[in-house]
């Protein structure tokens, strides 16, 4: 028994020693380390290289700070960051979406009101209007780095080869779809498994059919919101029409965005509606479609209330600071640095449009990205993507409904009535 107690004692003592040493080491490291979480883990992400460049620039100018960077794939990231925030174990600075998605963090007081920690002079360098989805109760909780928008990317080579006019109206779009389909080519790329990719199409169709005001009311659940208006019904019918015309790959519901983009980047699919960040991949040095892609505005819908110069997008994502961070000033400084410098680096790489005022040599900007900037300079309206404007539960419901439609499980009438349930 005596020996037994001795052995137990030794085991307990060594456990405490090692445990204590580990905690001490961690405490020491915490003094000069900032944790940064972001998306863009895959090399195919157009934002990855510019972001890593931004991090390196920060490390060079701030040698006393150690950065622990973790990058995760976008869909998996949602779960990861929410779990960490809920467990009060969030990184100091992290990427997140704006709008309704950010609101849940703001309401739970998990993110720092950055405007309280930044000087007016620094804040004034942010482009006007880009903070609207990041400001709650007069305080700014997130800093934007990109002005995103969705456009239709067309492969001019394929359009020329089959003598098809680049569509500006819905009827022209259907004609183009039919011509390509008859030639054995999948007309439009879409990775339905990720669901937000499908929303890229439905958001624009709703915007063209129901118009900006109706969509704005519906996506933000304002008074007067109606998903069963004539415009919304038209949108549902048009989406159904596009699916039935065979515009999308036949296994679209089972492939991810990355998988679905492969044939587009290989020059086998003529049309793709997605965010402006796609431009960087199109124009990458190794891209098979470099120089062949043109960005155009999504076609108008005959009988629709929308304007061809209405754009989906805006400043829909940015960097936040956790309210539980142990180094508030340093974290805010890092956050602002990342937002401003990544804004510039991503723009130079063609992965985004800047949200900070900056002097950039225009001649160095890729022509495709420049053309998108030119298109948006004439924008009449910017509307935040539906699945970002809507909050958590509703956002998921929206993505599920469009997926059910894509899979052919519901009709256009059910589409509208299911959306109407969100408003209850």
């Amino acid at each position: 028994m005596k020996r037994f107690v001795k052995v137990c004692g030794i085991i307990f003592a060594s456990l405490i020693l090692f445990g204590g040493a580990a905690i001490a080491k961690e405490k020491k490291a915490k003094q000069t380390t900032l944790k940064v979480w972001s998306i863009w883990s895959a090399d195919s992400e157009s934002n990855k290289a510019p972001f890593l460049k931004t991090i390196e620039e920060y490390k060079k100018s701030h040698p006393e700070v150690k950065i622990e960077l973790t990058m995760t794939e976008a869909e998996a990231y949602k779960t990861k960051i929410r779990t960490a925030v809920a467990a009060n174990d969030a990184p100091d600075v992290f990427y997140y979406n704006a709008g309704g998605i950010l609101k849940s963090f703001v309401d739970a007081k998990k993110v720092l009101p950055i405007s309280d920690y930044m000087s007016k002079e620094n804040m004034s360098r942010i482009v006007d209007g880009t903070l609207s989805n990041m400001t709650f109760n007069g305080k700014v909780y997130q800093l934007p780095y990109t002005l995103a928008c969705s456009v239709m990317f067309v492969n001019t080579e394929l359009f020329d080869k089959y003598n098809v006019k680049i569509p500006e109206t819905w009827n022209e779009l259907l004609k183009a779809v039919k011509t390509f389909k008859d030639a054995g080519i999948t007309p439009m790329a879409l990775g339905g498994k990720d669901r937000w990719t499908t929303c890229m199409y439905t958001d624009l169709i709703m915007l063209r059919a129901a118009g900006y005001d109706e969509c704005d009311k519906a996506f933000y659940k304002k008074t007067g919101a109606n998903f069963q208006s004539a415009g919304m019904k038209l949108a549902a019918e048009k989406f159904e029409e596009l699916i039935k015309a065979g515009a999308f790959p036949k296994d679209t519901i089972a492939i991810t965005r990355d998988e679905s983009e492969v044939p587009f980047y290989a020059g086998r699919i003529p049309m793709y509606v997605n965010g402006n960040w796609t431009a960087a991949n199109c124009q990458a040095a190794s891209s098979a479609v470099k120089g062949k892609i043109k960005a155009v505005r999504f076609p108008t819908i005959e009988g629709g209330k929308g304007n061809i110069n209405d754009f989906m997008g805006g400043a829909a994502e940015g960097f936040c600071v956790s309210s539980k961070t142990k180094q508030k000033e340093k974290a805010v400084e890092l956050c602002a640095y990342l937002a401003e410098n990544h804004s510039r680096n991503a723009y130079m790489a063609g992965a985004g449009m800047p949200t900070w005022k900056m002097n950039v040599d225009d001649s160095k900007i890729d022509p495709l990205i420049k053309s998108i900037v030119d298109l948006t300079s004439k924008a009449s309206n910017f509307l935040l993507w539906g699945n970002t404007a809507l909050e958590g539960n509703d956002s998921e419901t929206m993505m599920d409904i469009v997926s059910e439609m894509l899979a052919g499980d519901i009709t256009s009438t059910q589409f509208c009535s299911k959306f109407q349930e969100i408003l209850k």
Partner: protein, 293 residues
Amino acid sequence: MDKIFSNKKAVCVFILPALILFIAIVFIPVFMSGYYSLLDWDGIGKGKFIGLQNYKELFFSKNSSFWPAARNSFLYAAVSIFIQLPISLLLALVLANGVKFEGFYRCVFFIPVIISSVVIGQLWMKIYNTDYGLLNTILRKMGLDNCCRMWLGDKNTVLGATFVPMLWQYTGYHMLLMYGAIKGISPEIYEAAKIDGSGSVKTAFKITIPLIRPMLRVCLTFSLIGSLKIFDLVYVLTNGGPAGASEVPATLMYKTIFLRNRYGLGSAMAVFIVIECLLFTVAIQKIFPKDDE
């Protein structure tokens, strides 16, 4: 040996670490989930106590996607029990009877068990791919073009398609358990049976299987519970898609909590899974009582 067992203090001390871990990692979280299931909580802010409303919504709401998910998990359980276990049993009987390279086969069948489910999911995703997947390519080469399907994209085939990797992964595990049990049977019984003129099939049915009944019960329990709570394979292969056709309670719970920010409702699903597994385990104990031999 008896001296150690009768020394109550020693027994307590040795059990204590495992018991503490068990309570901390299993018991307490289950009770916490039970408590959370009574809240309307988004997992981040403050929760509101709403009693059994989450359960009401789970079981009785007409929009609830829970019953299709539960039905899918029962299908997984049925396939596990009625297809996987017989295959494992057959393999175990054949191997235990003595074939050349017995040790090699044992190894090979067990390999899928130790490969991570995520890797298996990725592997089968590529096999099932409509354009370049192995399955469709083989079918095309054999001239069976019209048999080609969007295995993971068509809601008619997706469940069947997900059964295959699941069966493939754990057949070796159950086979090994049964093989071990069979090897534990005294060879004298087999010799007696042989003298009495019993062929190998008759021996298998009348002697081997009855004698390994306790192990069969263990395998049945593991198989049933495992398929009721399956998550990783389904998540990687289809994430419950397309449009919920291959949803199981565990993936639904995951989405409800982390994507829909409805921790309370998700916890209710978790509690359901726990209770369901407990009930089935008790049912198995009752249907196959422990032999007194």
